[in-house]
């Protein structure tokens, strides 16, 4: 089962990565483009499908990546209707550039959790294990929100981490755990919740030192402001909140 799961992960990775260059043809139907932090991949995909059901003819497209990459893309003029960031810092990159249509609203929060492969082969019990040289460890790059949060919890715990890789976004770190290539990765609690059987979570106390708030906003240059409002409203609605908490996020 675990081998099949790994194969599925590999396939999903292939499809996801080779698909990111794809462009949707303008087929007359309305398209809503949402730029969302990598950690929101699953729950936003579900919410997008729900919105498509509500509004026939609407196609919701997602660009998921590290929030920092997304903020850069938006500032560089990428066509987006909605931006959901994994922390306030990257949202402020967009608001400071005067590109947000509304005051960003915080819709969820998240804490870090240690993700280990099923069975925890490295015997990881807490944050201190990130100082172990004998383990293969992944964290997020300091440039992306989960990496910034990781630096905070390591500082709070007084742990000098010795990661083997600094991944470009949180899902890349999670994938390395799913593939069984690292003994532990520091990801969000919601990522562990979304990962299924191949990944186990190890919670740790210092996580509370770095609670990430997720803000969302419509963008000033939105090609489809009405659909953008509908999506933001859906995320902030009771149904959206429930979907987010089910996916392992906290209420803001």
């Amino acid at each position: 089962m675990s081998a099949r799961r790994r194969a599925a992960v590999a396939v999903a990775l292939l499809v996801g990565l080779s698909g990111c260059g794809g462009s949707a043809a303008d087929d007359g139907g309305q398209t809503l483009t949402v730029f969302a932090a990598a950690s929101l991949t699953d729950v936003f995909t579900d919410l997008g499908a729900a919105l498509e059901d509500q509004q026939p003819g609407l196609e919701v497209r997602f660009n998921v990546a590290g929030s920092s990459a997304l903020a850069t893309q938006i500032v560089q003029g990428a066509p987006a209707d909605v931006f959901a960031s994994a922390n306030e810092t990257q949202m402020s990159v967009v608001t400071d550039a005067g590109l947000a249509a509304d005051e960003p609203a915080v819709f969820a929060s998240n804490v870090l959790e240690i993700a280990v492969p099923a069975g925890n082969p490295g015997g990881v019990t807490g944050l201190a294990d990130f100082a172990r040289e004998d383990l293969t460890l992944a964290v997020c790059a300091p440039d992306v929100p989960c990496g910034a949060a990781a630096a905070q919890v390591f500082a709070a715990a007084g742990v000098t981490a010795v990661p083997d890789t600094q991944e470009e976004d949180v899902r890349a770190a999670l994938t390395k755990v799913e593939l069984g290539e690292v003994d532990a990765a520091l990801v969000y609690a919601s990522d562990v919740a979304s990962a299924g059987e191949s990944v186990e979570g190890v919670a740790f106390q210092e996580a509370e030192q770095a609670v990430s708030d997720y803000p969302i906003t419509r963008l000033a240059d939105a090609a489809n402001p009405d659909a953008a409002r509908a999506f933001v409203d859906l995320v902030l609605s009771e149904a959206g909140r429930r979907a987010l908490t089910d996916a392992g996020f906290r209420e803001p």
Partner: protein, 265 residues
């Protein structure tokens, strides 16, 4: 007649000019937008030197491995009469067209800790390949070696085989013929292939970040540093890009007259 040949036909002129603009403008933009005043401080960061050193070392190592393994492979493809050569050629040039990220995932499935070969390495010797500098070199070799193979094979096919025949009739063994006749004959092709291979390895991103991960000093090459810098500080990314651009240009200029001008694969 000679004058007419030198003049470009009008229908070719406009697209050709467009092509030049298309290829050159982005590079010019890098220079125009470069943060010249901050350049010194941006490039003085130790991470930059580390990334550059790692890039140069791993690209050179990947080229070395590609030469040792790729030239013999090119000979087999060009000269051997074994059946299935066409299939073999198609197979070994797949990395040319494969998205590098896919290559990175594929490398995991072979050399990763759970991979076909990697799991044996890990269980028997405790060796983990991903997330190490050798992983960078492996990823770069995987992506870049086909460039060398294709180039050398082309040179071998274009080379006059009569020299080899003469060498054989004079009593030289096949190995001697290869070393003393064939190899010098295709040296320009090998050099051109090596430069292509090196340049491709230097720019490698997708397979590297997937298979080798990203860690300053061990696996963060220049392209990875550029990508991550772009998430934090666009000017820093431009500064790093300039360094890569300078290295690539210097290599091209240095080698063009010496070898590349003569080698037309």
């Amino acid at each position: 007649m000679t004058r007419a040949r030198g003049r470009t036909p009008a229908p070719l002129l406009v697209p050709a000019a467009l092509a030049v603009a298309f290829l050159v403008l982005p590079l010019a933009a890098l220079l125009i937008r470069a943060p010249w005043t901050r350049l010194g401080t941006l490039l003085a960061e130790p991470a930059v030197g580390e990334a550059l050193r790692l890039s140069l070392v791993s690209a050179s190592a990947a080229t070395g491995i590609s030469l040792v393994l790729g030239v013999p492979l090119a000979w087999v493809l060009a000269r051997s009469r074994a059946r299935g050569r066409t299939v073999l050629r198609a197979l070994v040039t797949v990395p040319l067209v494969l998205p590098p990220v896919v290559g990175g995932v594929a490398l995991f499935l072979v050399l990763g800790r759970q991979g076909i070969v990697g799991s044996w390495l890990y269980d028997s010797f405790g060796v983990t390949i991903p997330f190490t500098t050798p992983a960078v070199i492996i990823a770069e070799t995987f992506v870049a070696m086909p460039f060398l193979v294709v180039s050398v094979e082309g040179a071998l096919r274009a080379a006059d085989t009569r020299f080899e025949d003469v060498s054989a009739t004079l009593g030289a063994s096949r190995w001697t013929t290869f070393r003393r006749v064939t190899l010098p004959l295709v040296a320009p092709g090998v050099a051109a292939g090596a430069v292509l291979c090196w340049a491709r390895a230097l720019g490698e991103f997708g397979a590297t970040i997937t298979f080798a991960g990203n860690f300053p000093g061990t696996t963060q090459t220049m392209p990875l540093a550029v990508y991550l810098a772009l998430q934090r500080d666009a000017e820093a990314a431009i500064a790093l890009s300039l360094v890569l651009l300078a290295v690539s240009l210097a290599t091209l200029l240095l080698l063009r007259d010496r070898w590349l001008g003569r080698a037309v694969p």
